[in-house]
């Protein structure tokens, strides 16, 4: 009981650290990149939330910010970058093109990056205003504080499965001994 409370506290503290230290990997491709520049700029200043460091090495990034249209040609690249990012990671889809393909419904554009990688927060808008992005960032921070997110869910799922297997094994072994 006591141990659980302590680890819970510790995990909360780590989540707090993570939400204020989101190093972004800006996967910037298209028009939204212009708004991304404004977002970094003096007026909106995403640095206030501690999410200022654009790390161009996926190993050091926490948040994959998919900025702009992803085409079918670009999709494998995006998938690869996502795989390279170290845990824990979150994905924010910036703008409608990344979220759903936007008004490009044709042979070359990907109808939303969630066909390729899981997404935690979708931002609508073509391109979204920086205020929307800041709102999304705050939402993501809440999510992180709740220990939520796609990869976090997968980790828990794996853990549950492992525990169930262990229990089964344990149960069967006691049976045989008895």
């Amino acid at each position: 009981m006591g141990l659980e409370a302590t680890t819970g506290r510790l995990a909360d503290a780590v989540a707090w650290a993570r939400k204020y230290s989101l190093f972004t990997y800006p996967f910037a491709t298209a028009c939204c990149a212009m708004e991304y520049m404004s977002l970094m700029g003096p007026r909106y200043d995403v640095a206030r939330y501690g999410a200022e460091f654009p790390r161009f090495s996926p190993r050091q990034a926490d948040m994959l910010l998919v900025v702009g249209t992803i085409t079918e040609r670009q999709a494998p690249v995006l998938k690869r970058i996502y795989d390279q990012i170290c845990e824990p990671k979150w994905v924010v889809s910036f703008g409608v093109c990344a979220s759903s393909g936007g008004f490009y419904q044709n042979y070359t554009t990907l109808p939303g990056i969630d066909h390729v990688i899981p997404v935690d927060v979708y931002i609508p808008g073509c391109p979204p205003r920086p205020e929307q992005v800041l709102d999304a960032l705050v939402m993501l921070q809440d999510k992180i504080q709740r220990h939520d997110g796609y990869s976090q869910r997968m980790i828990e799922l794996e853990k549950r499965e492992a525990q169930m297997k262990k229990k089964k094994k344990h149960g069967s072994s006691t049976e045989t001994s008895a």
Binding site: A30, C31, E35, M37, M40, N106, T108
Partner: protein
């Protein structure tokens, strides 16, 4: 010459004869900070020196032409916005002029002036973004933020007139969407003063900076003849010393009534391309001021029921207006069969629209002549023989915009 799979430098240094060396292949992009995320450049390296380069574009091909063919003439403005997304107004203007040429109509004088004003504002945005990216990718972040600040001021102005920060879709066939709001002129002039200050700040921080000059001068020199053969236009061609500006040589709108100078480079290196753009910003500011002096009173849109939608008052209150609105929105403007090519001075050079009409409300073909696609054809040549670090300023001075290059 061209033709091989990639370009090789002719004079590779033979210093380390007898010592086995191996070429290193470096894949830059398609997601690399210096490539704006949409280009893949394969480099063959000898130490730090680039011995071969292969440029692969197309990572942002979004099917502009296919989408245009599926939509009516009026509906295509948002797609043109996203071609050169740094200066959407200019694309709007270019496309509107092309359709108007096919229709054989001309917008009212006031609309033309407004188009000129917003076009030059867009050019300011484009060049500010260019200089921001240029300096930021060379490691100086402070001027980057100054330029972004100034661009935000300009976006405020454009948002006020069009309703959108970046993707304006403000120009219409036969005019513009709305007249200038009250007090817009004064606010624009006040903003231009601020922008001028910022340009001066960037100038003092960068242009005479020794490190910046060393990085830019004599790098990626491109001769006049080569530039012409590669179809270069705009600031890059002028940087190579060719005096060609669509606004001066083939005046469209009312550019012939404005007094402005076209800056020309001498060496054709990165520095010249940078300086040409810096000077163009100042010229643009003066042009906008002249437009405000000259702009006449009058209509901002043609009143032709076959081309423009009627005022909201009419379409909400009269059945004729409603039918008219409905016809234009659903069926599109019926453009007589034929073909037309118009070209304006875009942010990166000659921005052409070649439209083929089959007489219906949707274009049979809507081709955009992308200036940066033509600029990019030369990148392989520009890189070979230089250092790997020169990739960054060279690529930036070409100001490749993915949406326009790959469409």
């Amino acid at each position: 010459m061209y033709g091989s799979d990639r370009l090789r430098s002719v004079s590779a240094p033979e210093l380390d004869e007898g010592m086995p060396t191996e070429e290193m292949v470096l894949n830059v992009g398609p997601s690399h900070p210096a490539t704006h995320g949409t280009v893949h450049i394969k480099l063959w390296l000898d130490g730090e020196q680039v011995t071969g380069a292969q440029v692969n574009v197309g990572y942002l091909h979004r099917g502009f032409e296919k989408e245009c063919e599926a939509h009516t003439y009026g509906e295509n403005f948002p797609y043109t916005d996203r071609l050169n997304y740094v200066s959407p107004m200019l694309n709007n203007v270019g496309y509107a002029l092309a359709v108007e040429k096919l229709l054989g109509v001309e917008a009212p004088e006031r609309a033309q002036y407004i188009r000129m004003i917003v076009g030059e504002l867009a050019r300011l945005c484009d060049h500010l973004t260019y200089s921001a990216a240029q300096v930021a990718e060379m490691g100086a972040f402070t001027p980057f933020f100054y330029a972004i600040k100034a661009r935000d001021f300009l976006w405020d102005i454009l948002e006020e007139i069009s309703g959108a920060r970046l993707t304006h879709s403000y120009v219409r066939i036969g005019g513009v969407a709305a007249d200038m709001p009250d007090g817009w002129v004064e606010r624009t002039l006040a903003t231009l003063v601020q922008v001028e200050t910022v340009i001066k700040e960037i100038d003092t921080l960068m242009t005479r900076n020794r490190i910046f000059m060393d990085r830019m001068q004599n790098v990626a020199v491109f001769s006049k003849e080569e530039a012409i053969s590669h179809g270069w236009t705009g600031p890059c061609l002028r940087g190579s010393g060719v005096d060609y500006d669509v606004r001066k040589d083939y005046p469209y709108l009312f550019y012939d009534r404005l007094d402005f100078e076209v800056p020309i480079g001498t060496a054709g290196d990165n520095m010249d391309r940078y300086l040409v753009r810096m000077e163009e910003m100042r010229q643009s500011i003066s042009m906008i001021k002249q437009c405000f002096d000259q702009i006449p009173e009058g209509d901002y849109q043609l009143h032709d029921p076959r081309i423009t939608i009627p005022p909201k008052q009419q379409s909400y209150n009269t059945i004729e207006g409603l039918i008219n609105h409905f016809k234009i929105v659903v069926d599109g403007i019926e453009v007589p069969a034929g073909e037309a090519y118009t070209y304006i001075e875009g942010g990166n050079g000659e921005l052409g629209f070649y439209i083929v009409s089959d007489g219906t409300g949707r274009p049979l073909k809507c081709r955009c002549r992308p200036p940066c696609f033509m600029l990019m054809t030369a990148l392989e040549k520009l890189l070979v023989g230089h250092m790997i670090a020169d990739l960054v300023p060279t690529f930036d001075t070409l100001n490749m915009i993915g949406g326009e290059c790959d469409r």
